[in-house]
Subunit: 128 residues, 3 copies
Amino acid sequence: MKEIAVRTAQHTQLVNITSMVASALADLDQSATLCHVYVPHTTAAVVINEAADPDVAADLAAAYQAMVPNVPFAHAEGNSPSHLLATLLGSSVSIPVDNGRLKLGIWQGIYFVELDGPRTRRVWVSTI
Amino acid sequence: MKEIAVRTAQHTQLVNITSMVASALADLDQSATLCHVYVPHTTAAVVINEAADPDVAADLAAAYQAMVPNVPFAHAEGNSPSHLLATLLGSSVSIPVDNGRLKLGIWQGIYFVELDGPRTRRVWVSTI
Amino acid sequence: MKEIAVRTAQHTQLVNITSMVASALADLDQSATLCHVYVPHTTAAVVINEAADPDVAADLAAAYQAMVPNVPFAHAEGNSPSHLLATLLGSSVSIPVDNGRLKLGIWQGIYFVELDGPRTRRVWVSTI
């Protein structure tokens, strides 16, 4: 397993980590058929989506926040919306690997999703 | 890995691909314990849910669109809602396999989720 | 593969199953690098999130229900909202394993998410 550090700059932010995951993968088992990317946090997530137009990442960040329902939250830290979105987006993705390289779709990239930043976060990359 | 082609007919549509995944699986490693189903697109997803009553698939398609928040989107292609839903639903599922066969729950099927159709799409099936 | 039984008490409820998954894992392959947790139901899900403050689980349960859009549903059983949330939250999670033990983040736990209870449910734990 390889650990990646991600420094985020905003409360809600998608950070393209595709090249960092590809680099980590290069140091792991070259005969693997899947790459597993795991976020060990409870107010962050990882998703796969379009990495060509940066407007997409900004649109997603705004839309996630707009989807949080207007209900009372009991959790004293006040970041229940961040926990909510983390569970909806998910804590891991798995991507096919071919000859030691990520086999993503043409428009796909891997995004770390910060939901309670800015912070320094960790991502764990392993192979299957 | 085996590739499946899926032809969709509507903008938002759930297509039951369970039998196609099962067929692809029959051509792969029979000693596998998990089947990985991956969507290499950024405006489509894959989910597992009830496959008995077709009303469920139609209800889900309508509900997904109704969940998109009414916020301004910057992405010039105009399909940010499709990208948003793709990240919430996810780009892959993994299902237990027993003796080369999918071990789904009794009511479960695998749905390709078209979120920006109609199009011809691809799905990648691999084993673990 | 090991099967866990989960008895739920409410319509919508997050049940912390971390220790049950850890116990099942102890009976499986100790050289595994990932643990796969699968829900074979269509109105339930599994997520990873904060397991320290029980308020978080209660906040999430309330927020999920509040996110269901107010649209007509055709499915005669009347539980389309449960199916909808199950697809958004997902039917499986996979967690890194180190020396036969779950390698979760510090604040993370594994929650079974009941969306149409109370019922007795099953969870399938396997290793990769």
